[in-house]
Amino acid sequence: MSVAIPYILDGLQIIILLFAAPAFAGWVKTLKCWFQGRTTAGVLQPYRDLMKLLHKDIVLAENASWIFRFTPYVVFGSVVLAGGIIPILSIDLPLSATADIIALVALFTIARFFTALAGMDIGTAFGGMGSSREKTIASMAEPAMLMAIFTVSLVCKSTSLSQMVQVLAHGEFILRPSLAFALLSFVLIALAETGRIPVDNPATHLELTMIHEGMILEYSGRHLALIEWAGMMKLFLFATLGIAAFFPWGIAAANDFPALFIAALSLIIKLFIAGVSLVVIETGLAKMRLFRVPEFLGSAFLFATLGMLSYFMLE
């Protein structure tokens, strides 16, 4: 029986991911409304949106190829798989050996690659524009991401997520400026990867300002539902990834059943705070023009490099 527990835990984690991600997205939207003095649609609105989309028919362009129809499934699949790997509640997951953090980033890259292809598939200018901008931003974010991973791996001597949580949560507590810099860098990168302000406005209606939205402009029905759901899960996963790498206290260790309740509680509190900080950042900053984004990501790279340097210089 105890052999099956990790598998059940992993399945539980995926189910939580599927059903809590829209709630997190709803929480972020509600907070934004409060900050901006508007009335909210409620935290449960994303669920209603997804249900509506799932019931609608699909309207497909005449020249859409199989890639266009296949992409939503691939995107959904890779994000859900990533959800089975990140230690959200516990580090005792059978899937955690499937990918270390570098492979995890590559899983998200699969989703972006196919979304970019789908954007080009239809043959409108907006899709191509979204794909081109998205891939450029992804390229600029990579060096910063790798440097941040490098810094964290210097401290934890590993790139496996379970090992990182183990070292940071259950090892001795030391103030590390390198991790602080890496955290700052990770926040900037996460804003770029999940397409939030100041890199991309997820709520824009102007096609010329769209990056992620531009690529999925032609989707409808259950395809759009899958892509939107995957987007919400991606936001959720980046939040939990940051929590696992930088604030992992509370995540249960292996074979520690009662600790799961504490883990769930601490997760809710941490996500609550993450939502508030995200909305503060989004409300306080304005969306940058595209050619300022390399500077933005360049400063993320700078912070991560400073973290790496301060590891060697100060620790």
Binding site: L81, G84, A103, F113, L146, F150, K157
Partner: protein, 681 residues
């Protein structure tokens, strides 16, 4: 006589030479010629492939002396795990491309005789096999020349065009500059092996025992590196690569880009780890820096291209850069005697060699198929091919996904291993390296991400969207041979990506033999499904689980969502309510790469010009817009132009010797005789 890998390899060479001998007999019937010769090259490649796999699996080393060549200078041949590995790579791609060529070359019959293509293709393959088997400087250089000459004729295949002739000439010049450097390096090493008086030092065995002071070793190494770098397309000697690979016929380009560049890597590995075994860390650092620069500049150039084959050629530069990065890291770790880590770096480099041969071969074959069907090379005139060439598109997609280093395909495994080697660099005792290597890792991450951008562009502009061209050519899918060739390469990409532990287990003999460290002890320790270099708490990756996971989730979601049938309406494009969308309104390749061009354009010389032809000078109502974009490699002006000018100047000065008057010509031998009489008194 029992069969050893060497007998298989020599049988394979024998078969190729007999194929060459058949050409003069069969050239009148071109179809039979193609079928016969390419089948023979396929069989011979298969034999070499088996020989290579066998050698590496059992760690066999065999040497033979062949009594060809000059008297007192016989040919030495040797098959050891390093040669066996490269024999496997060449044999695998040779087999696949030979099958593909049967279909591809048939398409040329209507336009021109293909005899020279067939002949030199086989000769190229033979040359590559011989290079890898050579065990002395003489045989090595002869095989090297065979390779260079045959690929020259392949590049010159369609010689009525000026650009083809120019590309071939440039290739020949740079190949020979490289060959001279390699010759000098071997000469230096041979001299230190047995003294500069005798010729006996020319065998590699003698060089292995040479006693060379470290400063001369550095000279020999860097000369060899220069020579091999010229063949590999490393900056600054890369200018021949895009021209040659884009004008050569695609099967030749696949071989050239896929395996001929790798023979240069073979040469570097042979000279560094087998002949000169002891070296300081800064050699590895230099190789690492060259690898990084080549990778970054290569991929940036690739993104800016409009010609599909030029894009692929520049992308080969990027991948050679990555292989050199792995090699450089292996050298750095070896110089500090960290054998397990250098084994990891070397395996990453070798795995990438194998991977690149497979996916680049696949991509070039796909480009050849596209050219075969559309007679276009410029991507800006293509689009929408996925509807008319579905198989080619799907296989090209597999190649693009592999080269962009996405799991579960093979490109990801070798890049991941290279990153792991970087992440282990804090174990190095040198603090300066500790700080600088992470920056190198960040640059590698940038190139990997840019590669993904490049191939989204390549695949998207060529196959997706709608046809951008003017004419309405009948475009049809390619024939069975071409599909089989591409399919085999794609299957290898998947295999290498999903089962890396087996492949590493197989190739582990190579680092063990040459570096003294093994990886496989830890690589499969967690189970055959998980790749765990060093240890599983450090990092782990499972290709099969990723493949199965994503497939399972996709299947599950598909079934759940299709439980209730909903209709799919096919309608014209929405495009945000635009009424008159034409195919010309799509994003072009140049538009796609514009942000990258803006950000990184300072590395190249970019000249953009926009001219608006307006009615009565009213700029708000343009009649016609003229846009021109010229991107040039800065190295032409900085390096090649001065060198060419200098050589022409020297030639002119030397030309002064040619006075034209007979008395001057008589004075030259007169003076020479007098000097000789004085010296030899």
């Amino acid at each position: 006589m029992t069969a050893t890998p060497f007998t298989l390899a020599s049988a394979s060479l024998f078969i190729i030479f007999s194929a060459l001998a058949l050409v003069p007999l069969l050239f009148r019937n071109q179809r039979v010629l193609i079928m016969a010769v390419f089948s023979l090259t396929a069989i011979s490649s298969l034999l070499s492939l088996i020989a290579g796999i066998w050698t590496v699996r059992d760690g066999i080393t065999e040497s033979y002396i062949i009594l060809l060549g000059l008297p007192d200078l016989p040919f030495h041949m040797r098959l050891d795990p390093l040669s066996g590995f490269f024999l496997t790579v060449i044999g695998a791609l040779g087999f696949i491309v030979s099958v593909y060529s049967i279909g591809y070359v048939r398409g040329f019959i209507a336009q021109r005789p293909v005899t020279s293509l067939v002949f030199f293709y086989s000769l190229l393959l033979a040359g590559m096999f011989m290079v890898v088997l050579a065990d002395d400087a003489f045989f090595f250089l002869i095989s090297w020349e065979v390779m260079a000459a045959s690929s020259y004729f392949l590049v010159m295949f369609e010689d009525e065009r000026t650009e083809n002739r120019r590309a071939a000439f440039l290739y020949l010049v740079i190949a020979h500059v490289g060959a001279i450097a390699i010759l000098l390096s071997f000469g230096l090493m041979a001299g230190f092996a047995t003294g500069f008086e005798s010729f006996n030092g020319y065998t590699f065995d003698a060089m292995r025992k040479m006693d060379i002071p470290s400063s001369w070793a550095a000279v020999a190494f860097f000369l060899a590196f220069l020579g091999f770098a010229a063949k590999a397309g490393v900056i600054p000697l890369h200018v021949w690569l895009p021209d040659a690979d884009s004008v050569a016929p695609s099967n030749a380009a696949a071989l050239m880009s896929g395996v001929m560049l790798k023979t240069a890597i073979y040469g570097i590995l042979r000279v560094t780890f087998d002949l000169i075994r002891v070296f300081p860390w800064w050699w590895g650092a230099v190789i690492l820096v060259f690898g990084l620069i080549t990778a970054l500049i290569g991929i940036l150039f690739a993104i800016l291209q409009q010609d599909l084959k030029r894009l692929l050629a520049y992308s080969s530069m990027e991948n050679i850069g990555i292989i050199l990065i792995g090699t450089g890291m292996a050298m750095v770790f070896t110089s500090f005697n960290m054998t397990a880590l250098s084994a990891l770096a070397l395996i990453a480099a070798l795995y990438h060699t194998l991977n690149h041969a497979m996916f680049k071969g696949l991509l070039f074959m796909g480009a050849g198929a596209v050219h075969h069907a559309t007679h276009e090379r410029n991507m800006e005139g293509m689009g929408g091919l996925i509807h008319r060439m579905p198989w080619t598109a799907a296989l090209f997609l597999i190649g693009s996904v592999s080269i962009s280093a996405l799991p579960p395909f093979n490109g990801f495994v070798s890049e991941w291993l290279t990153f792991q080697a970087f992440l282990l660099s804090p174990a190095l005792p040198n603090p300066l390296l500790n700080l600088l290597i992470p920056l190198a890792a960040a640059i590698l991450a940038l190139t990997a991400a840019l590669a993904a951008t490049c191939f989204v562009k390549a695949f998207g502009i060529t196959f997706l969207g709608r046809w951008r061209g003017n004419h309405d050519t009948p475009i049809h899918e390619v024939d069975g041979f071409m599909k089989t060739g591409m399919g085999l390469a794609a299957a290898m990409c998947l295999f290498l990506g999903v089962l890396p532990t087996f492949v590493i287990d197989w190739m582990d003999i190579v680092p063990e033999r040459f570096l003294g460290g093994k990886l496989a002890a830890s690589a499969g320790e967690f189970g055959w499904m998980w790749l765990t270099p060093i240890s599983y708490t450090r990092a782990s990756y499972s290709g099969p689980v990723v493949l199965l996971g994503i497939t399972a989730i996709v299947a599950l979601v598909y079934i759940i969502l299709h439980a209730r049938s909903t209709t799919i309406h096919r309608v014209p494009l929405w495009g945000c309510g635009f009424e008159k969308i034409t195919p010309r309104m799509q994003y072009t390749g140049t538009a796609f790469s514009m942000p990258i061009r803006r950000i990184f354009g300072f590395l190249f010389s970019v000249r953009e010009r926009i001219e608006v032809d307006a009615e009565h000078g009213q700029r708000a109502f343009p009649k016609r817009v003229y846009y021109s974009l010229k991107i040039r490699d800065r190295l032409w002006n900085w390096l090649y132009q001065p060198v060419t000018d200098a050589s022409f100047w020297i030639a002119r000065q030397v030309g002064r010797l040619q006075q034209g008057r007979i008395q001057m010509y008589l004075i030259y031998p007169f003076i020479t005789i007098i000097i000789l009489l004085v010296l030899l008194r």
